[in-house]
Amino acid sequence: MSSRSATIAVYAVLLGGLLLATAVARRRPDLLAGVPDVVRSAARTRAGQLVLLLVWWWLGWHFLLAA
């Protein structure tokens, strides 16, 4: 397996992990917190709220504009 394929495979595994975690959190919220709970937990401080907003906005800015 080439380095490129390995890197892409790692990204794919992480994406699959996110999807799996989402599904598990929906079925077993006692086992794994759902996305809204994770966001609320990270947003307990104003700094956390700003970081969450910044990450969301920057992802759109970074990917939607031409490099």
């Binding site: 490129r4 947003a43 800015w61 939607l64 504009l65």
Partner: protein, 181 residues
């Protein structure tokens, strides 16, 4: 924040350095003096608000070239409006129904691993602006997929809807005039 700012300095991206640096300064300001708790504006809860914004931004991205000034202005405006809504919500935080910290380790692990892979791929580049085909960053992989107008418009609309949901959560201050305890 500091690590991200350093990466943007290395990338010599003026906008990103300004945005991340400005956010850091804003954090310090809010630590010293925050606005009174007001919560989210009434219109934010309406589904029409999210749908209208997604339609506007998705439409602009669909009709304009990817490097057009109008797209830049619209994306920047979305961020400014979201920031103003968050600042207006004032001090305090969203209501936590239960303490989920023990149940978040899976999310934290996956996201941290993603950041490490991205950083390793970035450091493997010959310079900050040239992709390494052997160790592509997420941007290098996703960028070609966003070449088409329809794909980009869909992503833009989804991005706005995700931001709308996020902002509703962040600006929530719970019941009562003082917001969440």
């Amino acid at each position: 924040m500091l690590c991200a700012a350093v990466v943007h300095v290395v990338r010599a991206n003026v906008v990103d350095v300004a945005v991340f640096g400005g956010t850091g300064v804003l954090m310090l300001v809010l630590l010293r003096r925050d606005l009174a708790t007001r919560g989210a504006p009434a219109g934010l809860a309406s589904r029409w608000t999210g749908a209208g914004a997604a339609l506007l931004v998705g439409g602009t991205v669909a009709l304009q070239p990817r490097d057009s000034a109008l797209v830049q202005v619209v994306l920047a405006a979305v961020g400014v409006v979201a920031l103003l809504v968050l600042l207006r919500a004032g001090s305090g935080a969203p209501t936590l129904e239960s303490e989920p910290l023990a149940r978040t380790w899976v999310w934290v692990t996956i996201l941290l691993a993603g950041c490490v892979v991205e950083l390793v791929s970035f450091l493997a580049q010959p310079d900050a602006w040239t992709d390494n085909p052997d160790h592509p960053t997420l941007s290098a992989l996703v960028d070609p997929m966003l070449g088409d107008h329809p794909a980009r418009a869909l992503v833009a609309a989804a991005w706005v809807l995700a931001g709308w949901r996020l902002l509703r959560l962040l600006a929530d201050r719970g019941p009562g005039p003082g917001g969440a305890p």
